[in-house]
């Protein structure tokens, strides 16, 4: 249950980028002076991306304050850049996000390759604040900018053979060092990164085709230039830096499912009662907070999405 009590933080109260950038410069200078054998935890991120203003949609907000922009852009899981949390912000500069196309294809009447700048102008952008719950047991609150994926899906008219939607991330080891197969990469993931949703899930109004966050274009480490955000599922379901959206009949095999089928299911809905085989999912640490907090069923979006799974055994279809 969501207890609506805490006051909303106005966007004017969020630390402005100028402030954190100057702080970051100070930190970088300090870090350079220090001997640091285990790497820098709060690695300096690349400069903040350009502004991408959008009107906040009051229907999608969270009563908790948003996570600090600096945290949301330096603590990332984006294995294409490396497996450490700081790797994405360190290596993000190598990703070229223009020109960029997103191919929409498969079982639909109007397949098309969209230039990303064309894609983001198809429908009005809006800002939505969502909770983000990582399968590892931490969470954030992030203001995203985008439009409902459903708008794009309806535009390309999926056929009756379209039962699932598959998302594919860019494959380019030159830009994504984590995709290189080195000497010790014997257990790396299967590239390109693939994710998927059932068509009715993908059509749910909560699913956001996302181009920005915190009023700016997406930083590369957060999935620039275009990603999906599915707030009631664990973070890895929200594919980043996508180049293809494909309508398919068979349930797609996702990257994490292939990596460890007993640990990461196709659905991966946030569920405090279904533990990861190796750790509990009952609680989470909100980044910026000290005490763990209870994890909410469907990440707090149960009243909106639970009907999608009526009659399903969520222990079996985890």
């Amino acid at each position: 249950m969501l207890i609506r009590r805490a006051p909303d933080i106005k966007s004017s109260e969020i630390t402005t980028p100028d402030v954190y950038l100057s702080r970051r410069a100070f930190m970088a200078g300090a870090a350079a002076m220090a001997l640091s054998p285990a790497g820098v935890a709060g690695a300096a991120a690349p400069p903040a991306p350009p502004l991408l203003p959008a009107k906040p949609n009051p229907a999608f907000r969270v009563d908790d304050p948003p996570t600090k922009f600096e945290s949301a852009t330096t603590y990332n899981n984006f294995y294409e850049f490396g497996v450490d949390k700081a790797d994405p912000s360190i290596h993000a500069g190598g990703l070229r996000t223009r020109p960029w196309t997103v191919r929409v294809e498969g079982h639909c009447a109007r397949p098309k390759t969209y230039d990303v700048d064309e894609l983001m102008r198809l429908f009005p952008l809006e800002e939505r604040v969502y909770r983000l719950r990582c399968v590892e047991g931490w969470s954030m609150v992030i203001p995203w900018t985008g439009f409902p994926l459903a708008s794009l899906i309806k535009r390309v008219e999926p056929t009756s053979r379209a039962r699932f939607v598959e998302f594919t991330t860019l494959f380019d080891p030159e830009q994504f060092p984590g995709q290189k197969t080195g000497l010790l990469s014997f257990s790396s993931l299967d590239w390109p990164y693939a994710e998927g949703l059932r068509l009715d899930e993908a059509l749910h109004p909560l699913v956001l085709l996302t181009f920005g966050m915190y009023g700016r274009a997406l930083p590369n480490q957060n999935g620039a230039p275009a990603r999906v955000v599915v707030p009631w599922k664990y973070g890895f379901k929200s594919a980043k830096s996508i180049v293809r959206i494909r309508f398919v009949t068979e349930q797609p095999r996702t990257t994490w499912e292939k990596a460890a089928p007993n640990e990461y299911g196709f659905y991966s809905n946030v569920n405090p009662t279904v533990d990861h085989p190796r750790w509990s999912q009952a609680t989470e640490r909100r980044i910026g907070e000290f005490r763990r907090r209870p994890t909410l069923t469907f990440n707090g979006y149960a009243d909106q999405v639970a009907s999608l799974y009526a009659g399903m055994d969520l222990r079996k279809d985890f």
């Binding site: 930190m27 001997l35 935890a41 600090k68 603590y75 700081a86 014997f186 993931l189 190796r278 980044i287």
Partner: protein, 218 residues
């Protein structure tokens, strides 16, 4: 190795062993522990424990392979520092991560294999730390002390398993640690086997010699 040289060497080892802790304290002061400081601190302390454990286990293979032995005087220091970081790692979990949620922690120890083996590793290190003083070595007697301290092999295996079982797929560093441990234990195994074979070989040669004499006797 001369006495001042040995003192200097120990000083250097002290400094190196304290470096990760000083780095954490410095970052704490500078607000540089990152977005998830609790997780970062836990990881650094755990990593340091594993590195020091492996370092302490590397001294004997170095002696066996190179016949250099001055490093053996560092074994206690490295072992105790490994224990020190293991205790800090555990304390961080209890105090900062779980905030004295004893019921939850107990359930985790029983239910989560990676936590079970982690606790096992720490528990196995306790008697070793407790008997690390020269007085305790004398009290136990060298042979008993040596037998007891072979527990470090089990503790290291448990510690590495702890890391392997908690790490997400795609991470290779747990396996790098595991390979190093296998190599360090492998050198010992090879040495013991070779020694045992030599002894048996000696026995066989002796026996063969005796038989010859017997054959020749009549």
């Amino acid at each position: 190795m001369s006495r001042p040289a040995r003192a200097a060497l120990k000083g250097v080892v002290w400094a190196v062993c304290l470096l990760p802790l000083l780095m954490l304290l410095w970052k704490f002061r500078a607000d540089g522990l990152g977005a998830n400081p609790i997780s970062y601190v836990t990881n650094v302390l755990g990593d340091t424990t594993l590195r020091l454990l492996l370092a302490s286990l590397a001294l004997t293979p170095l002696r066996l392979l190179s016949r250099i032995s001055w490093q053996m005087s560092l074994r206690r220091l490295l072992g105790l520092f490994a224990f020190f970081y293991a205790v800090l790692h555990f304390t961080t979990w209890v105090v900062v991560d779980q905030f004295f949620n004893w019921a939850g922690m107990l359930a985790d120890v029983r239910k989560r294999p990676y936590i079970t083996v982690g606790m096992l590793a720490l528990t196995l290190l306790v008697p070793l730390a407790a008997t690390s003083t020269t007085r305790m070595v004398k009290r136990l007697g060298g042979l008993n002390w040596q037998r007891l301290h072979r527990l470090v092999y089990a503790a290291s295996v448990a510690a590495i398993l702890h890391f392997i079982w908690l790490a997400k797929k795609g991470r290779n560093d747990p396996y790098v640690y595991a390979l190093i441990l296998v190599a360090l234990l492998g050198v010992r195994l090879w040495h013991w086997t070779a020694r045992a074979l030599r002894r048996r070989g000696a026995v066989v040669v002796l026996a063969a010699g005796a038989q010859k004499r017997v054959v020749r006797a009549p």
